[in-house]
């Protein structure tokens, strides 16, 4: 109903002569040599043609230029200059010939040459001596044919809210331009005038700064479209996109832009990206950075706040992209590589991060000028872990840096040098692929070395390895990291343990045993570990470890530490509730035999049946039949049992993210490629 109304309204406005100025903004359909038709006649014909375009979504064009020589090629040129619709029919005349051109699949199917040259041309020629009448006959006949086609084929090829995209007659207070294309189309009037003014200005500034259209649209309804499709179409059909101009080969690339669409009917929103914005606004960036910024505002109906947050978020993400690396869930980014190339490296880095809590990052982009500044900023804002090692390769040089106590401890001294040695030959030779592989291999080797037995000499490699394996196993089984730290010269074992615990331990539950030649002390971190390692139990642990230390038997001390710790961790208090329940159940079970004894005392009871007095074989069935009375069938919707899984509980805190880095894209009805995300607010 709404649609019909809006079409009628537009038609009414267009016919009204007072508003005929508006006709300048709409396509012109009829061109003739000067003097053949009056201005009023032309206007009438154009209005009729525009009506057809609105009704049938096919433009019907006509020209008569008597002096054109190569008619077919001129018709092509005419079409590229004047045709505004996706589907159109052009009828061109010069002094001698006529030529039909169909543009778009609908026009080709609905108006094949056979139809044009018989039905349409016949109608056109049937009118004699009246140029306007001839043209009207052409337009009306074509309209008839298109109407019939639409009646049988529908409008599947085009968006169904035709007027909704047309910004040409939308008043300025709805479509704020701030110069150029409208950046804010607030059809729902969610913002006040001053808010809208400021916002459209801000969007325009961001767009200009990063050469990327940033657009916000609010509508009442999506018609039958999905929010995503609506946003894509709105973007495409209104010609958004920075840099969407044909190059020298006549190929127009998708323009760069991002569009936020709000539909108030079902509170849908969609973010559509296009062109280079697809890479700048990765799935991860949109869903974990952008949406958390603006969605809370929208949910609480603070649209001004939400749109401002969206604008700021776009600013941030465009900044990240322009600086070299789009905001993404990726640890390896090499400018120029495809998503699939990056994927395997990222997966590897992510699994390492999940397992050991140390992020490994490799960034290469010649756009990065100041490598060190970028590196510091990256570590500050863009790493996902407290502990990480980051290599940034910029235009002229590369730099590696670690952050966090654990990463620092792992990559200290020789290990750090080993990383540089592994990577340098490849980077010098310009072999980024080799560099990434070597870098990852070396870093993983270092990170995965579970060095929880930390001694300065005095212990054999074998004993150390065994101890590490044992402690690692305990950590994997019980989630408590155990460290054995030996420094013969340390003055205070307790201080040793405590400082290591606070500086170098990244696990949330950890126990550090600090030891010197004479004794040991224990420091504990994390609620679970503290619950297990109580003072009394620690005292027992220390008492078992110390004799080995005094004898200088470090291997024995490590074993004692591991053994006692395992006992402490695996000890569990008796579950008194279970015990009580089982005891009560036992007591109740006990009633059964006792009550059986009670029944022994009773031997008097009335007989209820006469089974014993029935003569053997005298029982005979004389009738045994089942009569079907009727059947009824009930039907319920089949419910598929989905297995529910509960998340969380993992020690790494990684969570179940499905992001693999990069952006997923889809193709919109207009053929443009878009990225983005949609949902409800």
């Amino acid at each position: 109903m709404k649609r019909v109304f809006s079409i009628l309204l537009i038609a009414f406005l267009l016919i009204f002569p007072v508003l005929s100025v508006q006709a300048d903004d709409r396509p012109t359909y009829v061109f003739v040599d000067d003097g053949l038709l009056t201005a009023d006649e032309l206007s009438d014909l154009n209005t009729r043609a525009f009506m057809i375009s609105l009704d049938r979504h096919v433009g019907v064009y006509y020209f008569y230029y008597s002096d054109v020589e190569d008619l077919p090629s001129y018709v092509e040129q005419f079409a590229s200059e004047h045709v505004a619709e996706k589907n159109a029919l052009v009828l061109g005349f010069n002094a001698d010939y006529y030529y039909f051109l169909q543009i778009g699949s609908v026009a080709k199917e609905a108006l094949p040459d056979s139809v044009c040259e018989s039905t349409i041309l016949d109608a056109y020629r049937a009118v004699k001596g009246d140029p306007k009448g001839k043209l009207l006959a052409y337009l009306n006949t074509t309209d008839e044919i298109l109407k019939e086609y639409r009646d049988t084929h529908g409008f599947s090829d085009v968006f169904d809210v035709s007027g909704a995209y047309d910004l040409s007659d939308v008043p300025e207070e709805i479509a704020r331009t701030a110069g150029g294309k409208p950046t804010l189309v607030d059809k729902e009037h969610l913002l006040t005038d001053s808010q809208a003014e400021a916002l459209s200005q801000r969007l325009k500034e961001i767009g200009d700064a990063y050469r990327c259209d940033v657009v916000i649209v609010t509508v009442s309804t999506l018609g039958s479209k999905t929010s995503e499709a609506y946003a894509d179409d709105f973007f495409d059909y209104n010609g958004y996109g920075y840099g969407a101009v044909p190059d020298e080969n006549g190929v127009t690339r998708d323009g760069d832009g991002i569009l936020l669409l709000l539909s108030m009917e079902d509170r849908d929103f969609a973010v559509s990206t296009s062109g280079s914005a697809i890479r700048a606004f990765t799935d991860y960036g949109i869903q974990t950075y952008l949406e958390p910024l603006f969605l809370p505002y929208l949910s609480s109906n603070d649209y001004s706040g939400g749109f401002t947050a969206f604008a700021n978020g776009c600013d941030d993400l465009l900044k990240y992209a322009s600086e070299g690396v789009p905001y993404d869930y990726r640890r390896v980014y090499v400018d120029g590589w495809t998503d699939s190339q990056l994927l395997s490296c990222n997966d590897r880095a992510e699994s390492v991060a999940n397992e050991y809590g140390v992020g490994i990052y490799f960034i290469e982009n010649t756009a990065i000028g100041d490598v060190d500044a970028f590196l510091n900023d990256f570590i500050e804002n863009r790493t996902f872990e407290d502990n990480s090692i980051v290599l940034v390769h910029g235009a002229s040089r590369y730099s590696v840096k670690t952050s966090g106590a654990v990463a620092y401890a792992k990559f200290s001294g020789d290990a750090f040098t080993a990383v540089l040695r592994a990577v340098d030959p490849y980077l010098s030779a310009g072999d980024t692929k080799g560099a990434v592989t070597a870098y990852m291999d070396k870093c993983i080797e270092i990170v995965s070395d579970y060095g929880h037995v930390l001694t300065k000499g005095a212990i054999s490699d074998e004993a150390k390895n065994n101890g590490n394996l044992r402690l690692k196993q305990l950590f994997e089984e019980h989630g408590v990291a155990l460290y054995f730290l030996y420094d013969a010269e340390a003055a205070d074992p307790e201080a040793l343990a405590k400082s290591y615990l606070s500086d170098s331990v990244y696990e949330s539950n950890a126990v550090v045993l600090g030891a010197n030649r004479t004794g040991s002390a224990v420091a504990v971190k994390g609620g679970y570990a503290a619950e297990k390692f109580t003072g009394r139990r620690i005292a027992k642990l220390v008492k078992e470890v110390d004799p080995h230390l005094r004898e200088g038997d470090l291997s024995g001390a490590v074993n004692a530490f591991a053994e006692r710790s395992e006992k402490i961790i695996t000890w569990r208090p008796v579950n008194y509730l279970t015990l009580a329940i089982s005891v009560i159940a036992g007591l109740l079970f006990g009633m059964i035999p006792a009550n059986g004894l009670k029944r022994q005392l009773t031997s008097v009871s009335k007989q209820t049946n006469a089974e014993a007095y029935m003569q053997p074989q005298s029982f005979m069935m004389t009738q045994n039949s089942n009569v079907l009375l009727g059947k009824n069938t009930s039907r319920t919707v089949h419910v598929v049992q989905s297995s529910s899984s509960s998340g969380g509980g993992g020690r790494s805190g990684g969570g179940g993210s499905s992001f693999h880095g990069g952006s997923s894209t889809h193709t919109s009805s207009s053929g443009g490629t878009h990225g983005g995300h949609s949902g409800k607010f």
């Binding site: 036992g586 007591l587 009633m591 009670k598 029935m614 045994n624 039949s625 089942n626 919707v637």
Partner: protein, 370 residues
């Protein structure tokens, strides 16, 4: 008409005769003569012939007087042997004189409609009853300990209890409503098809000699519990079998007793028919009709040893099937011992379960495996 108190006397020495359950003979406790019941019947009819001929008929002598004591509702009989008074109610049919232990039989209680069709003679004697009682107490853990030592058998008497025996051909028909269901799914919908049936069942069966005790005085449940009796040992009624035992005539009419028999065979028919209605997911009985044919009822005297046991001023009644030796009777419960056993067994089970929990805990599954 004067009540005739029938007394069998030894043809040899004139002493009072008794039926010996062991030898199934009538014996004289004084001269050890023994007679088969048939001999005695013949002798009896011979005496009757005599009595007809002689005026000095011992049975028509004024030795069997009875008078009704209006105050107590009891009849007073005079023992033919010693002249002592025997008290008895309206139904008393045979008894023993409390003074001289002679058997007295009220002949009038066995004439006309009160003539039993058959009698099942005693197979077990008083001693067997006492033994059975002692055995009954054996192995009853919750019986008060003192009951065994302190209880005394106040009275033990062999008694022919009047029973009605009902025989009949029963036809029963029942109607049930039954349904079956079948479920399937085509991926989009789940279907359940329910088929409703009327189940028609009819059956016949022959029931033989369902016993129902016809004595008001006897507890129905106690008498029921004595079953079964082996009727193959039953003989035609002769008063000679009553010698030495008490007996009553029925005082519950057959019309009333038959109701109990009906309840029993109806239940049996119902159970048997319901058992044929398998294969349905739900079955509900909707109606049942029962008819009987070829009904036959018999009046029988069945042998029962009654034991009255006194303990702590309370009387406990036990009954023993005089034919099979099955002894029934509820025993007192020692509540203290009941709780003792409950706690004992409860403790054992609780110990086992608790032990398993603790074992599971220390074996490493954290007590969560139970």
């Amino acid at each position: 008409m004067p009540q005739q108190l029938l007394e069998y006397r030894c043809p040899a020495c004139g002493a009072s005769l008794q039926f010996d359950s062991g030898s199934q003979q009538v014996v004289c406790p004084y001269c050890d003569s023994s007679f088969s019941p048939q001999e005695l019947i013949d002798y009896d009819s011979f005496l009757r012939e005599d009595a007809k001929n002689e005026t000095s008929d011992p049975w028509s002598k004024d030795t069997e007087r009875w008078e009704k004591d209006d105050a107590t509702g009891l009849n007073v009989y005079t023992c033919a042997a010693c002249g002592g008074e025997v008290l008895g109610d309206d139904t008393l049919a045979s008894a023993r004189c409390p003074f001289c232990d002679n058997t007295v039989i009220m002949k009038r209680q066995f004439t006309g409609e009160w003539k039993p069709d058959l009698v099942l003679p005693f197979k077990l004697d008083k001693k067997a009853a006492q033994d059975a009682f002692r055995k009954h107490l054996h192995g009853k853990k919750l019986l008060p300990k003192a009951f065994r030592s302190e209880s005394c058998i106040e009275e033990i008497k062999g008694m022919y209890v009047p029973f009605w025996l009902f025989s009949t051909d029963v036809s029963a028909s029942m109607r049930f409503k039954g349904s079956t269901s079948r479920a399937w799914s085509d991926g989009k919908y789940d279907y359940v098809e329910t088929s409703n049936y009327a189940l028609l069942r009819a059956a016949t069966a022959r029931f033989d000699r369902i016993p129902v005790d016809g004595s008001e005085k006897m507890d129905d449940a106690l008498m029921d519990s004595l079953e079964p009796f082996d009727y193959s040992a039953a003989v035609d009624f002769q008063t000679a079998y009553l010698s030495g035992f008490f007996s009553d005539r029925y005082d519950v009419e057959a019309d009333i007793s038959v109701k109990r028999a009906k309840t029993r065979f109806n239940k049996t028919m119902q159970d048997r028919i319901v058992a044929t209605t398998g294969g349905f997911s739900s079955v509900a009985a909707e109606s049942m009709t029962v008819s009987e044919h070829n009904n036959k009822r018999e009046y029988a005297l069945l042998p029962v040893w009654l034991l009255h046991v006194k303990w702590k001023d309370q009387l406990y009644t036990f009954a023993m099937n005089g034919q099979t030796g099955k002894l029934v009777g509820n025993l007192p419960l020692d509540k203290g011992r009941l709780w003792m056993y409950r706690l004992l067994y409860g403790g054992i089970f609780a110990g086992i379960l608790g032990g398993l929990v603790l074992l599971g805990h220390f074996m490493g599954c954290g007590g969560g495996c139970l």
